[in-house]
Amino acid sequence: MIALLIRDLRLAVRAGGGFGMGLSFYLLIAVLVPLGVGPDPAVLARIAPGILWVGALLSCLLSLDRLFALDFEDGSLDLLATAPIPLEGVVLVKAVAHWIVTGVPLVLAAPLLGVLLNLGAQGYVWLVVSLALGTPALSMIGAFGAALTVGVRRGGLLLGLLVLPMYLPTLIFGAEVVKRAAAGLAVATPLALLSGITAAALALLPFAAAAALRINLR
């Protein structure tokens, strides 16, 4: 499994685009929103938590369709399915690799974009914490969506339609954490719920995604 993780990371880095795309997209959103709503610092501070989370969601979505598609096309997914490690494990590893390539950079970049959006001073720590806890769920749910649509030609749009509604609970709790932190309120409840969703997604969705992959490989 570790070998697979290293392979996936290496592919992502060497093929290029993996790191950069999602991150640039995130930056673009943080630039476009103030241009759209106007530069008033008070307004920006109010919407910053939501924008930062929605931006993370969309940037995460951007690279999902390649999660299984390349391996599906060149046949390595068939080999992985017959390999001695369970397919559930393969799915989990691929989701983790996706998280390291897209989720982690987003988490690290978020505070910088917070400055652009005039996020309240107490919000930064919890912005990083909530994204760090929430983005693994985004990658895992996305892996499930990618497994469903891997056999569909041009599945990108469909993938978005399937995955985004499932991102809603994560988005709600994640943005709530940041919003409360920026306003100086207690964050324990939404943070616990957010972590619960991530833990449940990581525990259960590999089975659903592996089932979907098996159906597609039939």
Binding site: L148, P169, A212, I215
Partner: protein, 242 residues
Amino acid sequence: MSIWEYANPKRFMQTSGAVLPWVAGLAAIALGTGLIWGFFFTPDADRFGSTVKIIYLHVPAATMATSAWMMMLVASLIWLVRRHHVSALAAKAAAPVGLTFTIIGLVTGAIWGQPMWGTWWAWDPRLTAFLILTLFYLGYIALWRAIEDPDTAADLTSVLCIVGSVFAFLSRYAVLFWNQGLHQGASLSLDKKENVSDVYWQPLVICIAGFVLLFVALVLIRTRTEIRGRRLAVLLARERVA
């Protein structure tokens, strides 16, 4: 009589063909009486005026919108566990009907909300949850459309339906956390003596029965169409080979 008998499409076509006129007829009668009674022979409510009468469309449609998804979930499970082909087709057939009921619920709610709440739309938990349900219906239907092989499509949509149910349920409670609502509490529950005043209650029950029957009739029709579509595809394929 068991549902497994009707895994045979021929048996299903026979029985559903015999039952369908009755169900459809009863649906028409129940909806006709319920709606006419409700619209023309009940008094206007104190604070709501005549707008109260939209309840006869809004409540049954909303009830059936969630029930349709539950029915799809059960049908998907039956298909996944026992490869019951008609069950998979019934789930497929129910999705657009459920989506339509969801939209009826949202639209009638908006029409009622405009004079009563002074707004067409509010980000109230119930409204939001219904909007999210619409998205899940759309995704489900889109996945059926996107996959060509019928068995693969049935399998994948079933998996989506199961996982989607969990997330739809989660979203329902997440939005409760996110915003407090304008929408009144449940207007129908069995453990209360009188939910809404009896004058409105009786035609409402008839309307709900009518919507249930309508749903069954529509799903039967659509499932029969799906089966005929499959038969046609087989005939065409045979012709091509010959």
